[in-house]
Amino acid sequence: MKTSAGREADVSRRTFVVGSAAAGGGLALGLNTYAARSAQAQNAAEGPAEINAWVLIKPDDTCVIRIARSEMGQGTRTGLAQLVAEELECDWKKVTTESITPGQNLARKRVWGEMGTGGSRGIRTSQDYVRRAGAAARMMLLQAAASEWNVPVGELTVVDGVIAHGPSNRTTSYGKVAAAAAKLPPPDPKSIVLKNPKDWKIAGQAVKRLDTADKLNGSKVFAIDVKLPGMLCAAIKDCPVFGGKVKGYDESKILSRSGVRRVMHVNDTAVAVVADTWWRAKSALDALPIEWDDSGNAAKSSATIAELLTDGLAATRTNGEVQNGDALAAIASAAKRLEAVYRTPFLAHATMEPMNCTAKISAEKAEVWVATQNSEASLAALSQSSGLPLNRCEVYRHDLGGGFGRRGGAQDYVHQAVAIAKEFPGIPVKMIWSREEDMAHDFYRPISQCRMSAGLDEAGNLVGLHVRVSGQSINAFSNQGAIASGKDMRQLQGLYAEPGDAQLGYSVPNLLIEYVMRNTHVPVGPWRGVNTNQNAVYLECFIEEVARAAGKDSVEFRRALMADHPKHLGVLEAVAAKADWGKPLPPGVHRGVAQFMGYGSYSAAVAEVSIDPAGKLKVHRMVLALNCGHAVNPGQIAAQIEGSVAYGLTATLYGECTVENGRMKQVNFDTYEIMRLAEMPKVETVIVPTYDFWGGVGEPTISVVAPAVLNAIFDATGKPVRSLPLKNVKLV
């Protein structure tokens, strides 16, 4: 499993490198290859004219904006369309979107650049070339009108897709000149001038999402809803012990059941039942006696894994460091010393739409219908598993019923669906995982422990800080090429010295941050916010302990360490102001604060909580501040922040996957509890863009949710919480 995951990561890495190159020269590529296509497009009567790869205009002025990134609820489809429309100067009310496929992208020399959607990159790493595409299309449409009227293009103005020539009092529209514009050469990329974001009219506005209507009446077709002529359905069960295999099964017990077509091995580790409907396949699989070979992993448990991590806290060899001064000496000679060990568990993504994939494989063509965060990795997986070259493969991507990092590079479900469908040439087979399968075979958020030590001088100043994270590595599981000379900095996300992406916001005169790699047999992967989540708990909860030991106010203590980090400080100040930090609260209500950086953006949060005499926690209100540089759609940024509170609070209150007999114990929502509406605090969002960088939105704010709540609990009880989730912690 490890080997194949590694190979998949290699494929996606290669495509990412190509994608990055294409992003740099993306427009040039796009505008060079569009011409032949647009000529074709015009031949279709009344069809849209392709002005360039990203923009199509229909005769009725409808503007179709092509989207390369995946939509999983985060609003990227709408945000990207806003950026194109802003430069295009079209009528926002006439904008629709169209998803391109990875096969189309490949056929056109990756004119749309990278399609992968993770790491909060959807907008920030495509904003430049999509805005340029919008601007280039506008210039061509204006030129077409100028040529038709035989006037200088500089005399034209455009508002909402209506082109006007003031001196002659003439007007036309994008729809009327689109066919002519599509035949023009693209403008010189150097002549394209993008708008100052402060002048945005469509971008920067909280316009409504473009993709809401079909989510309200059941008509949206998710991948799990795909229906194809003659389609069969498959249910699958992989060895519950990670790393195990199928030893055998007695198919005679189920073959006579209604609708059942076949019982089969899938890749040595799994058994599938194929039937005419999924329910029949699933109930037959449940009735199938299967013998598993646990490959010696059945003795592993949460207890043995905890021992492994604790061992890492004392290990001499480390796997990545951030260092300045001499932290160990400074702490040893400090007037006051503190030490604490924190723990965070494995977590499942639990997307609402379980993993699924529909595949149709013949000798000539391989196709899948799938929800994916990385369509090109899906295409690579399809090609690899079907044995057909990429140009005979196609991925029809569906908007995701949740992603959160689960549907990224690994594509395990595509490999499985293709392996099953290969046995039924030319017949589509829809494979759906049960919820139990989905939670038993995730790529979990990695487990870790962290020992924090600090020294204070007599005035209560922080003179030394030592952070030692011991835990599992995502790169070791799926991306070994990113580990150089045994060093794996990814697990220290948010604690980096370098600015720009995930920098530690504090200046400490003597600092030592270390990662000690301790891998388990459990598959791990990125989980919305990835390692910022655990590291923010460790750092921000311990800084709170240190601040209190120093006898200082939580915000004031942090502020004193942040003089060299004005953007980190900016969101801390913004959240403190909005949350009335320092002002009285109703009796029994307590505040906690946290700040952190990830995905190029700066986040801070204040939580207000109370604890009743029985120890029941209530989170009343959370205020979050985010500086993501440019705010493309403040309404959707607020939605992401609200959602990050729910995702982060669920993890804080309930989230825990424990290992028993080598397998996951929590395999459905009865044991893997999810926060419900009744527990949702009032969330207030402060967006404080500084307009000088492009940061992410989907992930950054999750990291500050747990530490803000834990610090508020600390204020309420006088006792720090050092282990998650809270369901295991007695608060009174």
């Binding site: 949206k220 229906k227 409907t277 739409e353 919820r435 609200e642 990050s644 509170v645």
Partner: protein, 150 residues
Amino acid sequence: MVTLNINGKVHEIDIEPDTPLLWVIREQIGLTGTKYGCGIAQCGACSVHLDGAVVRSCSIRVGDLQPTVRIVTIEGLSDTSSHPVQRAWAELDVPQCGYCQSGQIMAAAALLAQTQRPTDEQIDAAMTNVCRCGTYQRIRAAVNLAADLA
């Protein structure tokens, strides 16, 4: 053979009587707006109305349903997304990924049919469906808005 009245239409279906209503709606009837989330009545993605009351269809066997029971799915809530709950959801841009929203809308519609202007506590008690994107704050606001629109 099972007889079901779904969205006002009577269906005669040749199916094992222990099949969950959810899967008959999705696979035999072909209405896929009702979603599979957990199969154990925990998440509410499969919520539908039986004679106006919201139920989790993954845990109801079709053989246990009387032919006279009126089953309404998200597709049958209104013809043109005009139900006050759907209008409120649109107005406040509630959905993110959208997967759980059919169930959320059905739960909200049943609540408002029973209680014209629910209190916060009544909303808390009635809206117990899981949303992993975390749209709860907007769901609460939209239930209140739907009460205004009704």
